[in-house]
């Protein structure tokens, strides 16, 4: 290396020097290909699960997915997006299974027939949270109706942060505004366009109200200055269903793998896991298993 290169060695030198970066490139290309799809080398074809951020952020997926993989041998690619996006991925055949929480929108997809085989998996609930000072006076209201509370927030012009991202939580919020007879908009209505955790942080910083699933709020309550101002209204139920695309309309989907994952999510093993999940960390379960129960009203 320290030896000076002589001009007349030029061509020879080129030959011996060129390969180094090329070899390095090929080695890394090989590395990249090795990364291609861990587990795909096995016979089973990967199952793509499109689900909501709440199942990922709560850590539930990290427990359920490995259990399914061990039991069936199907590798899973679980992608956490908003409920609206997850349903669209399923409807286009870009996912094999969807686990979502927007019953009204799910029924639309069932109605058109692009998604089939809808089964009840679990539920928890939404809560209305707000600043400790409760400027809209929601806690002083006698009857705990969520729609009425939102109406009061709108009337008093108290700040409210909406997810604004077509997630299950956002769809629920929109349904509640509709029930309240309010078209939200104006200075007091803020759309974050982000996940539940980020939205809670924004609501806390802005001393605003927001609608959240209980699980994410439990995980965040130590970090945000927000209190539950309303809970327990049946309209605040947060119900999760699993669905899959109609294989006739989406021929490329992994039908067997998708059905296996659906069967697993409503199986006793998965349901027992759901029942105990979060008890250790939060002192209360984050989700309640519902497989086989009648559809909630």
């Amino acid at each position: 290396m320290g030896q000076p290169r002589l001009a007349d060695r030029g061509r020879q030198g080129d030959r011996t020097r060129w390969p180094a970066p090329a070899v390095a490139g090929l080695v890394l290309l090989g590395l990249g290909l090795r990364l291609a799809a861990p587990g795909d080398g096995a016979a089973a074809r990967a199952v793509i699960l499109a689900t909501t951020t709440s199942t990922q952020d709560s850590g539930l997926l990290d427990v359920l997915v490995p259990l399914f993989e061990r039991r069936t041998g199907y590798p899973v690619r679980a992608v956490a997006v908003g409920t609206g996006a997850a349903l669209k991925l399923g409807a286009d055949g870009n996912a094999d299974v969807v686990l979502v929480h927007a019953p009204a929108l799910e029924r639309e997809y069932l109605g058109t027939g692009v998604l089939i085989d809808r089964r009840l998996v679990m539920h928890n609930d939404f809560v209305l949270v707000g600043p400790p000072a409760d400027p809209a006076g929601i806690r002083r209201r006698p009857a705990g109706r969520a729609a009425g509370a939102l109406g009061q927030i709108a009337r008093t012009g108290s700040r409210f942060v909406s997810r604004g991202d077509r997630s299950g939580t956002h769809l629920k919020e929109q349904a509640l505004w509709k029930a309240a007879g309010v078209v939200p908009g104006g200075d007091w209505y803020v759309e974050s366009g982000q996940g539940m955790g980020a939205t809670l942080t924004i609501a806390s910083e802005k001393r605003a109200y927001t609608l959240t699933d209980r699980g994410t709020f439990l995980a965040f309550q130590k970090r945000v200055e927000l209190r539950i101002v309303l809970e327990g209204d049946p309209a605040l139920a947060n119900v999760y269903h699993v669905l899959r695309p109609d294989p006739v309309r989406a021929p490329r989907v992994n039908v067997a793998g998708g059905r296996a994952l659906e069967d697993f999510l409503v199986s006793p093993a998965a349901q027992a896991t759901i029942e105990t999940f979060g008890v250790e960390l939060y002192g209360a379960p984050l989700f309640f298993p519902d497989a086989g129960k009648p559809e909630p009203k």
Binding site: G10, R11, D14, P21, A22, A24, G25, L28, L29, L31, G32, L33, L35, A36, A37, P38, D40, R45, A46, I48, T53, Q56, D57, G59, L61, D62, V65, R77, A78, V79, A80, L89, D92, G93, N94, G195, M196, G197, A198, T201, A219, F220, R223, A250, R252, V253
Partner: protein, 231 residues
Amino acid sequence: MALVWDGLRQALGLLAGGDADVFGITLRSLEISGAATCLSLLLGIPLGVALALGRFPGRGLAISLVNTGMGLPPVVVGLFVSILLWRSGPFGFLEWIYTPIAMVLAQLAIAAPIVTGLTLAAIQQIPDRFRLQMRGLGASRGQLLWVLLREARLPMLAAAMAGFGGVISEVGASLMVGGNIRGQTRVLTTATVLAASKGNFDVAIALSVLLLAIMFLVNAALTWIQQRRAP
């Protein structure tokens, strides 16, 4: 501020404790972004040289496109790569979406214009007369190219650093095409986003510190190579 100190302490803990998850995530970041950077060099250097030395119709437009591409927004790349790789897309049959391959492809699309553009600039800053002189001394085409590349090696290493820095710190495209799947496509940036969205700000800070440390180490190594023989 206590949060930052907790994060730094946790980062050291994660590193010292040899946390398998964090180690895997770090290694995967290096592999994916390293592969994307190497591929972008294999693609971008010849392209940059061709644009610098070639004379053909549409060259001005091609250079403008490359220069625009240097600032390509990762989310735009992520969206288009997703559309191409989804099962409903033209390359869906490959089943590459939500795999590291998809991430390498997206990162390649981000890094290649950077490497091409900087190579182009590096070669163009060598005076024309130098080339004429080499030709006059009887250098073959291959020899001329080799000498030009050697002359431009300092700015070209800068191109490699810029390309690597661009992709390892990128989050939008990796999140969209990789899906942030644990143990498969979760890298330092996407793990940081997830940790923050879970409210685990200390873990998020720890991962950020790791990312910065890796960028520093890789760039320090490249800088060492770059400056080793510089006058």
